[in-house]
Symmetry: C2
Subunit: 192 residues, 2 copies
DNA sequence: TTGACATGTTATCAGTCGATAACTACTTTG
DNA sequence: CAAAGTAGTTATCGACTGATAACATGTCAA
């Protein structure tokens, strides 16, 4: 079986996807470039040659995830440009677990100045996009993203989502609080 | 200069503190047991002998941080048992940056089943405590913790807090939204 | 066809890390 | 004082990692 040959650009895209998957599980320091290489079916040194360093590979993955998140929000806003619809879009993002998990690992890896800078830029773009798409003020956008962060963290902790552990009472309580529409304190706002 | 000799219990506590500091910066995979050892002024093998493994050291640090967070909330509730007061307590937690940063790294490291289990238990305890101290319902407690998660993430990203980078416009906008009391959508609720 | 370029691989290395083992030194107790 | 327990060290190992260099293989234009 001969290896399928791709252009450098194509291979780069494929590797970025593999990097999103791999880094989403174990984070920057916990994932080896060989993990990414195996996932994509190429050798580890080739990954380094294409991206220059592990750091640049990670940043490429974070930016890819952020771009995808923005796209999901944009698509949702095309249906209806309010926070409630964007909140529904969050369900799609939670289904693609990798995106938010990777972003969380990016936040955590922000003590590295280069990674931190890239991650802040991505987060800032998402915040701005939410405000522009829906026209809400800073406080509403902040509360929207706050709930999003909690959902992201709960998913990473495997309290919510596909890979969730058997729920303890407090987990079920929180999960229910997201699904009960009557419990919303203000009409049309929170993701979930 | 002779090394100060401590009992195993004392040294263990000191090492747990050092572990909180060290793991808060670079996370589980990104921090070596030698980093923790140097911070405490002992040799690396001794750290392993006292805690058995790096994993157990990390879990000890996470549980220590969670316990401290609970204590801050309890102290605040003794002044006044409502969410607003607990929100003020959050400022103390943000000042002790390590605690929340470490917890965030714990969330991110939850793909390890042993760590994940410990982290979920800690989070569940904090959630329960917030509800018990204030008597709020699940939705209010969830929104409180959601804002807390956003604050934690923003601090880790160095958007807020002592080590923050020079603020870009969107950062100032979010920071302001926390300080403006008039912008609160519902009276007395969010941390910050 | 041939040669230049692009796509990949294997071999290898220097550094790091968690963990074990064996040894040392201090303290307490009888 | 001696012996036993406690606190801590140095030496060392095997595994892993990111990165470099050299080599191989496939593709396409002249």
């Amino acid at each position: 079986m001969t290896r399928t040959r791709l252009t450098a650009a194509e291979r780069g895209e494929q590797l970025t996807g593999a990097a999103v998957q791999a880094f989403a599980v174990s984070g920057y320091a916990g994932t080896s470039t060989d993990d990414v290489a195996r996932l994509a079916g190429v050798s580890q040194p080739y990954v380094i040659r294409l991206f220059g360093s592990k750091q640049r590979l990670f940043i490429a993955a974070v930016e890819h995830a952020a771009t995808r998140i923005e796209q999901v929000f944009r698509d949702a806003a095309e249906r209806s440009a309010d926070l409630e619809t964007l909140g529904e879009a969050y369900d799609e993002l939670l289904a693609e677990r990798d995106l938010l998990a990777l972003l969380l690992h990016g936040f955590a890896a922000s003590s590295d100045p280069v990674i931190g800078s890239a991650v802040r830029t991505c987060f800032g773009r998402i915040y701005r996009l939410v405000r522009e798409l829906t026209g809400v003020d800073a406080t509403e956008a902040r509360d929207f993203l706050a709930t999003g962060m909690l959902l992201t963290v709960l998913t990473s902790m495997q309290v919510l989502g596909p890979g969730a552990v058997p729920p303890e009472p407090w987990m079920a309580e929180i999960a229910d609080s997201f699904e009960d529409p009557c419990a919303e304190p203000e009409p049309g706002g929170q993701p979930g």
